[in-house]
Symmetry: C2
């Protein structure tokens, strides 16, 4: 179901011939209204792909009628020709659906620095537009690149529905591979309300997923509301539901991260501030030595403390506690329980860092550094 | 020769029993004078190993009579007991050599979070002190951990000599594994002159080696002067020679980095400032996706531009040129020469990034991300 779970939305997925594998590679999601309110957040990378440059203009007025997404090419660093391809794609959707091209979001994912085959994209759009229906599942497959499975989530509220799809294995900023997310709802909400809810939800979900510290040029999370349910939810309730849905999608991205063999939740507690907790969690999430140790089932807490030492967060290296999978292996910066009490064979790893200076906390999701990660990212040009 | 190439220095290396391998694991370097001036720079990690905490106190007055180094244990996050081990080690050197313990630098490298066996260290110091001589080569072997070979460099000036040894594969801040460097000279220079020269030399050498972005808790670079040559060099000449020697040692560290199959020189030119050039080079050096691509002999310049996009450096993503091994593969942010013209089979990789906004430049040295890197750092608890 994903993006077609909520009333007022139709989707289609086609094989436009962009992917070498020959699978579905172009998805179209249309908002039939009555509302066409929308919000979106984008990569913070300063090198922006053409579809991101385009979509930032589209979202400015908070009105979106459709979103077209392709895999098989990122359309990034493709110069003026690449931007024309994005523009022509939106125009093709505009003609087929009789909506304004300025209300069509465009997303692309795949190899950077190669032109998309324009005619194949345009033909794909035409085919998709003629096959719209309850095809949210197929749409979630068409946006996959190295994903091993589609990511979908649906939440049923009090008279309204949220549904979403995601691809990639990373985060908004940074991301391992491009992360594309489309979420739809039939709740009655305006674009300002959607923007507020989406920024809060992504801050606590995709922004705290840091698989390998590499930020994509194409990341985009879009939220479209049709108002077709006729129900206006309490904004706090809606935001909470949206956050839970985004966390669910983020966890699906984490568990399908390229080559990973462990899903690591880094829980930082006792921090002086939320920012400190996030900075500490992120520094550990980006430490290759710690991530390689987890791959080797080695509870190497010294690498955790060495990573914390690179931050500006408030802490005393000799008053930090570290637990791995429930075993207090480091107490106040010194060895405590024996290493061999820690069982790292399960895929899920719980790393608890207590800075012991305050009350703030944050959880960052990451993965281990594995042979398969190196293999996929050396063999797959993306 | 390394640290005993210059007049006035003696060294010894012994097997104290700290390393599981049973090899040389403790080195002692003694300055017989007439001068005992010295300078040192340390890791910028906020979590400091006990020998670093000790050595920072020792260097404060610019006087160093001896330096004792051990492999087989980092003595980091070992609490009060660990600091007492460092202190007792310096006291043992003091007694054996009849120098002040406050003039003895201590360096340790190996696993974090484990206590060193104190008695073995003390016995090792006594044995080393009784076997001092022209043993710079053996000393350079005793400080090795995952190093496959010792790193040594000697420079002969106009009547004076510089000699040095290094271990590890990383940089002062950050470092893949602990980096320890000891450099000796018989030039007549005071500690202030040595400090000025050493900071300039490390800024342009070890500080620009970034193998995997992970900063050690134990990094230390020490420079000792005996004045035994009786020659006072021009400080600029000395600094230039010291810089060249440090670059030589840094390149040896790079080419022996754990598991690496490519040595990558990232040359950033056309930058608005030195800081911008270093920031851009470092962002690329820390991008796992680019480093994995190099391992796979894939000239993936899109990942280079995506990494640059995460910096605050002045640049226009659509006016950047990228050349790999002499092939201009990206011109003004768009594809230029075909990818298959780039030959990435040689170990040495030359990545040239022209930001086209100014005149500043910097070169950062790094390595690729390989299966062997993951293997060594998952299987070896360090």
């Amino acid at each position: 179901m994903s993006v077609t779970a909520a009333q007022g939305f139709e989707a289609a997925a086609v094989t436009a011939g962009l992917k070498a594998s020959g699978g579905l590679d172009l998805a179209l999601v249309v908002n039939r209204g009555p509302l066409t309110s929308a919000a979106a957040v984008f990569t913070t990378n300063r090198a922006l792909a053409n579809p991101v440059i385009w979509s930032k203009q589209v979202i400015a007025d908070g009105v979106v009628s459709a979103i077209v997404l392709n895999s098989g090419g990122a359309n990034c660093f493709t110069g003026g020709t690449g931007f024309q391809t994005t523009h022509a794609t939106a125009e093709a959707v505009s003609e087929a659906l009789e909506v304004s091209a300025g209300d069509v979001l465009v997303c692309s994912t795949g190899l950077i620095g190669e032109q998309l085959p324009l005619q194949k994209v345009l033909d794909g759009v035409a085919t998709a537009a003629s096959g719209l229906g309850d095809h949210g599942d197929a749409a979630s497959e068409a946006i996959m690149t190295t994903d091993s499975k589609p990511k979908r989530s649906v939440h049923t509220g009090d008279g309204w529905i949220l549904g979403g799809m995601a691809k990639g294995a990373g985060m908004l900023a940074p991301g391992l591979a491009t992360m594309l997310v489309v979420i739809t709802t039939d709740a009655v909400l305006d674009s300002t309300q959607l923007d507020t809810a989406l920024r809060e939800a992504t801050r606590l979900s995709f922004d705290r997923l840091d698989s390998d510290g590499c930020m994509s040029t194409n990341d985009q999370v879009s939220l479209l509301a049709s108002g077709a349910s006729g129900v206006t939810p309490d904004l706090d309730d809606f935001t909470a539901a949206l956050t839970a849905l985004c966390v669910d999608l983020a966890q699906q991205l984490q568990s399908d991260a390229e080559g990973a063999s462990h899903d690591i939740a880094i829980r930082v507690v006792g921090a002086a501030s939320d920012d400190d907790a996030v900075e500490v969690g992120r520094s550990v999430a980006r430490n290759n030595l710690f991530k390689a140790a987890v791959f080797g089932n080695d509870p190497n807490w010294g690498r955790v403390l060495a990573a914390i030492g690179t931050t500006q967060a408030e802490f005393d290296p000799y008053d930090v506690d570290v637990s791995i999978n429930g075993v207090l292996i480091c107490r106040q910066g010194a060895p405590y329980r024996p290493r061999d009490e820690v069982d790292l064979t399960p895929r899920a790893v719980d790393l608890l860092i207590d800075l012991r200076v305050g009350e703030a906390s944050a959880t960052i999701l990451t993965n281990d550094l594995t042979h398969d990660y190196v293999h996929e990212n050396s063999a797959y040009s993306s």
